[in-house]
């Protein structure tokens, strides 16, 4: 490249790069630095506090993400199978709606729906299914977080899995049908194995995004321990003003995310 062209490309690339480096990479690195600082000195105390106070929260976060992911993937595999083999446009469209509903709105909508005095209990009481003097609550429990995460992520899963199913050639399915395969067998033996790589990619992405979910557990979580990790980070900053422990929690969340990414990369490279 000529020198003037190099300069021009540098001038074009520098401003956006500077913003992302300044406000993402430096802060990312300073997480690592600050997590080892306590009252201006190097120390492992932040990690000790994470171990003592938050080890359950780490498991809780992993557990909720895993349960939500299983539900999302399980439902998506079967639902998309139906949509691929039989086809049903209106339902397909319905599942695109959550894509365009922001996370905060999902959090509030589920809060109004699932609270002890929410619209769901109200409707169930009309049907005589529950006693309103002692209403059960799904909101403010782990189940509320799971339902909300499933609601939002199912749309993404349906979109990606259905795309992968559609890429499977119709002749394979016809051949299976000709020898009498049921819809379930067509999903299990043809669609699912052929869509597996896309499914792994989608799962890895959704799992990280569930681990890192913040606004949904903030609005629908219990407010008591154990909490999702991101809520812990926020409370540590907002109520205790404890940057050290918050950053140590941050580092734990990065490591979890990297673990998922590592697993996903390994699966991809093994496959190819």
């Amino acid at each position: 490249m000529r020198r003037s062209a190099r300069l021009a490309s540098l001038a074009i690339a520098a401003p956006p790069l500077a913003i992302v480096v300044w406000l993402f990479f430096l802060p990312f690195l300073s997480s690592a630095h600050l997590s080892f600082q306590r009252e201006g000195e190097w120390s492992l105390r932040n990690y000790y506090l994470v171990w003592r106070l938050y080890k359950l929260d780490v498991l809780y976060t992993l557990g909720i993400s895993l349960v939500s992911l299983m539900l999302v993937v399980g439902i998506a595999i079967l639902l998309c199978g139906y949509l691929r083999i039989v086809g049903y446009r209106p339902v397909e469209f319905l599942f695109k709606i959550p894509l365009f509903v922001p996370f905060v709105v999902v959090g509030h909508g589920m809060r109004v729906l699932l609270a002890p005095r929410g619209t769901l209990n109200s409707a169930l009481a009309q049907a005589g299914l529950i006693d309103l003097n002692d209403p059960p609550s799904i909101a403010f429990t782990w189940a509320g977080i799971v339902v909300s995460l499933v609601w939002k992520n199912l749309a993404l899963a349906v979109l990606l899995v259905l795309g992968a199913y559609r890429a499977v050639d119709e002749t394979y399915l016809e051949a299976a049908r000709n020898v009498g395969a049921s819809a379930f067998r067509q999903i299990r033996d043809i669609l699912l194995p052929m869509a597996a790589p896309s499914l792994v990619v989608a799962s890895a992405f959704m799992f990280t995004s569930m681990l890192a979910s913040f606004s949904i557990p903030l609005m629908i979580g219990s407010g008591e321990a154990p909490q999702m990790l991101m809520v812990d980070v926020f409370y540590r900053i907002n109520y205790q003003n404890d940057l050290g422990t918050a950053n140590a929690l941050g580092i734990v969340s990065y490591l979890l995310a990297m673990g998922v990414a590592g697993y996903y990369l390994r699966t991809i490279t093994v496959k190819s």
């Binding site: 490249m1 190099r6 490309s9 074009i12 690339a13 401003p15 956006p16 913003i19 992302v20 480096v21 406000l23 993402f24 990479f25 430096l26 802060p27 990312f28 997480s31 600050l34 039989v86 049903y88 209106p90 469209f93 319905l94 599942f95 695109k96 709606i97 894509l99 365009f100 509903v101 922001p102 996370f103 905060v104 709105v105 959090g107 509030h108 909508g109 109004v112 729906l113 005095r117 929410g118 619209t119 769901l120 109200s122 309103l132 003097n133 609601w151 979109l159 795309g163 990280t208 890192a212 913040f214 606004s215 991101m230 950053n247 929690l249 941050g250 969340s253 990065y254 995310a257 990414a261």
Partner: protein, 268 residues
């Protein structure tokens, strides 16, 4: 015959379950937004009306809507101006350190945002941008740039280079071929990408909560505060207004948006 019945009832059951599942939270919002008074344990609100809609549109909600909208417009324009040339460059030219640049724009997707933004907030306060309009614009631009660079680079890559080579052969300069060949062909993709950035900024919650509080208020943060403060009517109205641009986009553009763009929208 009975198989046909079974098949049709499966179809009907699927439609009903899917409809209830998707619309249960949304309809709760609608009911609450038109509720004037609702004493437990009555099954329906005792008094309906537009009372809160009227009240809300004159108060803080309108201010939050206004400033959020302004921020989203500024973020979208700046992101577009910075990203279009860079995306073109990344798609077409062997610029130095290309993998490194692409990685810088990929990694923010791979890690949790909140713990990073906690430290970004400290950095912004250090240059006196914390709690300010421009601080919020900058923190929105981090995410916006990442989305824009990836989608727009893909858009430019999908345009065959031979078209521009033809223009060069006919004596057009690189600048001229960019403006009269590449840019017009890229316009549909660029519009989708622009809408994505706009919606991202309008819906952004984490960064705004950390950097903007307590002075810069956008609709998502306002909705969070009112919801947690049990002003359920107000929060539900805010939630419905927040949903509106996305739903409009879905209804109008569903047939034009490719699956890859739709999946990007799903991450907001």
């Amino acid at each position: 015959m009975s198989r046909g019945v079974a098949r049709r009832s499966l179809r009907a059951a699927l439609a009903v379950v899917a409809f209830l599942f998707i619309f249960a939270p949304v309809s709760s919002l609608v009911i609450w937004s038109f509720t004037r008074r609702w004493f437990w344990p009555h099954p329906f609100p005792q008094e309906w009306g537009l009372f809160y809609w009227k009240q809300v549109l004159q108060g803080d909600l309108f201010r939050a809507l206004h400033s959020g909208f302004l921020i989203a417009v500024v973020v979208t324009v700046l992101t577009l101006v910075l990203t279009v040339p860079l995306a073109y460059l990344l798609a077409r030219y062997p610029i130095p350190a290309k993998p490194l640049i692409l990685m810088v724009f990929l990694l923010p997707h791979a890690f949790p945002q909140l713990p990073v933004f906690v430290n970004s907030t400290t950095l912004l306060y250090r240059v006196n941008l914390g709690g300010k309009f421009w601080g919020v614009v900058l923190i929105h631009m981090v995410g916006a740039l990442v989305y824009a660079v990836w989608t727009m680079t893909a858009v430019f890559k999908s345009i065959p280079e031979s078209l521009e080579e033809a223009a060069w052969n006919l004596g057009a300069s690189h600048l001229k071929s960019f403006f009269s060949v590449a840019l017009p062909l890229a316009t549909p993709g660029l519009i989708a990408s622009t809408l994505l950035v706009f919606l991202y900024s309008l819906d952004e919650f984490t960064g705004t909560l950390l950097v903007g509080s307590p002075f810069v208020l956008t609709l998502p943060v306002y909705m969070y505060r009112t919801s947690v403060g049990y002003e359920l009517q107000v929060a539900s109205i805010a939630a419905l207004i927040l949903m509106l641009p996305g739903i409009l986009l879905l209804v109008l553009l569903e047939r034009f948006l490719k699956a890859e763009y739709l999946s990007m929208f799903g991450r907001l």
